[in-house]
Amino acid sequence: MRHCQNQNSLYTSNVSNKVTFFSFILVFYGSIFLRVEYWPFTDWGVFTYAYNPEDTAVFDLRLLSQSRNSREKFLEKIGFSAVGFNSQISRAFYSHNEVEIDKILNSIRSSKSFKSFVKNCPCKVQLIRKSLDRVEKNQIYEHKEVIRTYDIF
């Protein structure tokens, strides 16, 4: 009787282990094939698209001033993420949302850190679009296109 009970318990335990194993495999790998992208499953969409360097462009803010050297990549100096800025402007630019572009740029221009950075210093702020011009002699040459210019007095 005890032997039968032990056999039953072993059988139940084996079945339960198999169910556990295959359930987790089904959920984790099934979510991959079904492209389930929201938490708690992972973001499969990141870095999946094929691109070409010739079609790649990013957005940056450039500061032009007579009293200072012209400066790009000054977003981090005023406490803004260049990656985040590029992401927001790219989305607005490629969806032709001029209002959104203005909103993003106005929020930076009206920030305390920006005002403190350009204090008493007449300058221009330009939204520029940078892309690849050419690669020559181990140097990358950038092509810059001015999208917007703001005068700061």
Partner: protein, 289 residues
């Protein structure tokens, strides 16, 4: 003996539990920004929170969740009703990190950044493993709670869970872009974008050297889709683990994206478990008394 009956080193799964939870605890305690950042930046609720109309709770509630998570993880680490407290930890981590990841979510997509998923996946797997609770930590040292031996299927499940993250990334690259992802130009484009935004010197090398970009593209797909399953093969797993570390470190250098913590850290808990076993065996052999 069937696969589900085959045994491995007796307490391997319990040691894995202790090391993995220790890593998660250290990571959480060193990153208290997870608690207050959702209240200093714009957030977009993750999809499942929106589905159940879960609104962002107060920062005070977030602190309670945080300390509850630390507490349940600590009890699991000690081996006090590990499976029960691992279950609580899984739910708490799901809620707590789901709240935080709202800061990284765009209002235009359903997806969120995927550095923290492995922690949740491994916590949920550990909840279901029978031999996870074999050992507890007492003031006098480690104490055996049960006679259950760690089984091969438990180890394989942990390793297949780790593999799923890499396989998923590789599979989706091929599913979306096909072999074009591996043409060298795609990796060049990612690196060019990074260089143009941040002047990253390592990314610059990949833009300049197309052949390097091509080789690394192929290696990335081979590692993610196929080689990662070498973790299941004892004589290959250390090579694959080192390759994964190099892979993540290169991503960190070129893309400024950190998958080393917490993702790779908790994956590495398995390897630290193997090291611990080797140390214990060495000590036992050299000090038979």
């Amino acid at each position: 003996m069937t696969f589900f009956e085959r045994e491995i080193q007796k307490n391997r799964i319990s040691y894995f539990r202790m090391i993995a939870i220790a890593f998660v605890l250290i990571h959480l305690m060193l990153n208290q920004n997870y608690v207050f950042t959702p209240y200093t930046q714009a957030t977009n609720p993750i999809s499942i929170f929106e589905l159940f109309s879960i609104e962002k709770w107060s920062q005070a509630t977030n602190w309670i969740l945080y300390y509850s998570l630390i507490f349940t993880l600590f009890l699991s680490f000690l081996g006090i009703k590990s499976r029960v407290f691992l279950l609580f930890s899984t739910v708490l981590y799901f809620l707590f990190m789901g709240n935080y990841l709202g800061i990284a979510k765009s209002p235009y997509s359903t997806s969120v950044w995927h550095n923290h998923n492995m922690v949740l996946m491994l916590l949920s797997v550990m909840t279901a493993l029978p031999s996870i609770d074999n050992i507890k930590i007492t003031p006098t040292g480690l104490k055996l709670k049960t006679n259950l031996s760690s089984k091969k299927w438990e180890e394989v499940l942990i390793l297949l869970t780790i593999c799923s993250a890499y396989f998923g990334a590789g599979y989706c690259k091929l599913a979306v872009s096909g072999l074009r992802w591996m043409n060298g130009y795609t990796l060049q484009a990612f690196m060019l974008k990074k260089y143009l935004i941040t002047d990253n010197h390592y990314a610059k090398y990949l833009v300049i050297d197309f052949n390097l970009s091509l080789v690394l593209s192929w290696l990335t797909i081979l590692l993610e889709c196929f080689l990662v399953f070498g973790l299941l093969v004892p004589f290959l797993r250390w090579i694959i683990w080192i390759s994964l570390f190099v892979f993540h470190y290169c991503i960190f250098l070129t893309m400024d994206v950190n998958f080393l913590t917490p993702h790779f850290l908790i994956c590495s808990a398995y390897f630290f478990t193997l090291v611990l076993e080797k140390i214990k065996t060495f000590i036992r052999v050299n000090n038979p008394a």
